[in-house]
Symmetry: C2
Subunit: 497 residues, 2 copies
């Protein structure tokens, strides 16, 4: 048996290495690669994708898992080996369901989506985009058909990103949020025009600013990288090579908040325990849990009053002409101004959830067969009007703004909001356990926060499910109440300043 | 049969993709990677190395080659398919000879060598280095034993880098060069002290200069990259993603000549024909032939009088304080000054060959059993004294200066000099075929040179062997005579200026 466990670990480690390579290639493509290299990159990614599916669905891996089933049952469920066996079993069982041909077609569609989406968005041409969208949803439907579905086809896609949440749970949570946020947005909207945050902010100064803030938060230069890219993301092949990115635009300080956000993602990967960092459990969950770590840093830290009490004088030194004479209170109100807008990725903390909820509602309706894809522009405009009270002037600023659906990322949007919800649960528990947490933030001391997250979230890797990790850390599964209370209190106060 | 050929091409293409990935990972490690990422990188490279060896030595590939042998015999030998079958057969037959365990041990020794070598060199401690050197030569001896050797064990290692040259041929060529160069060096040495080329040259100005020169030579920004690194090299995953590097040091213009050198390597890979760029024949020979392309640009172009007639005024604009009042003739003499020195990679065009020849002589004597590794420091000093007339003050500037032997690159050194020799043969043929080649260089027009190299060298990929390519292009196999005549004429003239 110990021989079987070692063999399984060897195979699992190779699958994990393949995924590290995959992330490195994606980082290179988005940050470094000359554009003409896209053809070679498609070959690289197709090869890695084929190998990953072959190795995961290998019958020999299945035999090893069968042989090890009694061992797994006898182990402490919290042990590394039990966690590894659970995780690999889950991945193997999902992989064997999906024929290689379908996997490859999904990968090809995903590669081809990018060019089509870019062209459609640039010309705001939904008709041109529709066939790719049909193809993508059709492939997802074929994927869903590979599994024993309940009466909720959406459960299958949700399970890829949120292993232990069901569609009704998410729908209930989102309804609760919607019911409170729609009136809150109407109450708060446009009380601050955010003009204090208008540039110019010279890019070279922003670069120095972002390097300073990640250094303060806990980035280590010989282990991390921070690079510019078009759409910020965090990646890297492993715990000792963490690569975060940001985007510099002279007219805004978006690079600052993006950097703090991506730092949270990076820290999650960086603090995975070294003893299992070479195995598939040695990574963060690509789900709401990952997003909770980035939102926690972006919002609970980076948009908080304690943080800006600490850091605003420094920001004023970076941009003296812009912020000389601007009081902290006014700056803080601008950082937290609530303004309904069309583009999800530019939305503020209070209106952002509505962008996610409407996408969740639409993709669920599509998979349930209640909605035709060609009706999406109309349905999109209706929801934006109902939830945010604004009009959609064109599809580029409507249904064409996201690549996700054409890429095959159907069922992924909820993770963005689930992450925000959980980030408040984690933050409040951390503030209970570390009694002077806010004072520490106000002193620029983030070590205790890093340690709390390391011990209570990151230390599990993927040994437990996201909801299990949340429950171990906070005593509760996902719950919208703390999140809604936080938004109400923070934003009513910020406006009152 | 056409089915078998397609299956073989699919397998060959995947092996080629794996190698492109491998090159990308090495580039990333040397240019971009945070140092702490070395552990992950070793895992990546070990996995790719294992897969490459498994796929190359796969019995199914052998069966396909057997099935295709009659096809191969019936094809035009210059056709792509014939070239592919020859090349894959050669690689398969070499791969099956070497047990996977030995391959892995060689790879592990190679990975571990770097740290040991760096420490030994930093402390100039040969005793500390000796065990790693013993291990490396022992592994090479075991590798050689896998093949049917003639009485020349060196032939086996030479064949990995120079497929159709024998040890006696190389030895004869090198003796011919040595006999003429030792007295030439004594005649020319130290007539110019090169002080005109002493900095400071601000690094940001050097960066702009290097970007301009590669642009003039034929670098295309959306397809190539130029980045700084410690030891310049050229790499990249394929013809549409060519990555060259250089090293900036404020006190010298070494970055300029390194950039021109690496451009030559990059152009070779960039001009591989698109129709077979996804197959193993779709790459340059990692041998003297590759080095001939870089040396041609570095020396025939970048250290020539026509080139500097064109580019010296521009260089004066980059560094007005340094070069104002320095005549072209004086600058040209400094660019071509001959000064015996200890470090191979800093040697000039005339003394460089002696560094290669002494290494070739020593590694051959070691493999023949005529020399003990512990005697290397003494033998090194003797050869440096005999060939260059200078003393070796310590092992860091002697036998510890190169990583090659401890890395397992035994038999590789000759390629550096073979490349210089062939570069003159190619250049002279190009100058015969393109009658106004020098005038074009003097006008800064490099298109005809690129085209000549593309048609006569790069178009073959690895369909023919390096010596066959040389013979098709110039009518002759490798020949030291043109090279020695070139050195004598150029350097006696440069000094006379």
């Amino acid at each position: 048996v110990s021989g079987a466990l070692e063999r399984l670990k060897d195979r699992a480690a190779e699958i994990h290495t393949l995924r590290g390579l995959h992330r490195l290639l994606e980082w290179d493509q988005l940050v470094i690669m000359p554009p003409a290299g896209a053809g070679h990159r498609a070959d690289h990614l197709a090869l890695l994708g084929r190998l990953e599916h072959e190795w995961l669905s290998d019958p020999e891996l299945g035999r090893l898992l069968d042989e090890l089933a009694p061992t797994e049952a006898s182990l402490d469920p919290d042990s590394d080996d039990a966690g590894l066996l659970r995780f690999v079993r889950r991945e193997h069982e999902k992989a064997v369901r999906v024929p290689a041909a379908l996997r490859e077609e999904m990968a090809r569609a995903s590669t081809e989506a990018k060019v089509i989406w870019q062209e459609a968005r640039a010309s705001s041409n939904f008709e041109f985009f529709l066939p790719q969208l049909e193809r993508s949803f059709d492939l997802r439907r074929r994927y869903i058909a590979c599994f024993d579905t309940t009466d909720q086809p959406y459960d299958v896609v949700l399970d890829d990103y949120e292993p232990d949440l069901t569609t009704p749970e998410v729908a209930g949570l989102f309804d609760e949020i919607k019911d409170e946020l729609v009136p809150l947005i109407a109450e708060l909207r446009d009380r601050d025009d955010g003009s204090v945050l208008t540039g110019p902010f010279p890019v070279e100064v922003q670069i120095a600013l972002c390097e300073e803030i990640v250094g303060l938060l806990g980035y280590r230069p010989g282990t991390w990288r921070l690079d510019p890219t078009a759409h910020p993301f965090a990646s890297g092949p492993g715990i000792d090579d963490v690569r975060i990115t940001t985007h510099y635009h002279e007219q805004t300080l978006g690079s600052f908040f993006a950097t703090v956000h991506e730092f949270g993602h990076g820290l999650y990967e960086h603090q995975i325990p070294r003893r299992f960092a070479h195995l598939p459990i040695g990574a963060g969950w690509l789900s709401g849990l990952h997003e909770s770590q980035s939102r926690l840093f972006e919002n609970m830290v980076g948009r908080s009053l304690p943080f800006w009490r600490f850091f605003y004088p420094r920001l004023q030194e970076y941009f003296p002409e812009r912020f000389r004479g601007v009081e902290l209170d006014r700056f803080y109100a601008a950082v937290n101004s609530v303004r309904p807008s069309l583009i999800r990725i530019h939305a503020d903390e209070v209106t952002y959830p509505m962008h996610v909820i409407m996408r969740f509602e639409l993709e669920q309706a599509i998979l349930d067969g209640d909605v035709e894809l060609r009706d999406l522009p109309r349905l999109w405009a209706e929801k934006i009007d109902t939830y945010l009270g604004i009009g959609v002037p064109d599809d580029a600023r409507g249904v064409l703004q996201d690549i996700h659906w054409s890429w095959g990322l159907i069922g992924y949007f909820p993770t963005y909001l689930l992450g925000s919800v959980m980030s408040v649960q984690f933050w409040e528990q951390a503030a209970t356990d570390v009694r002077d947490l806010e004072e520490r933030v106000e002193r620029g001391d983030f070590a205790a926060l890093r340690e709390w997250l390391g011990e209570n979230v990151h230390a599990w890797g993927r040994k437990l499910t996201p909801q299990e990790i949340l429950e171990r850390a906070t005593g509760s599964r996902i719950d919208a109440r703390p999140y809604l209370d936080y938004l109400g209190e923070k934003y009513r106060a910020a406006v009152a300043v």
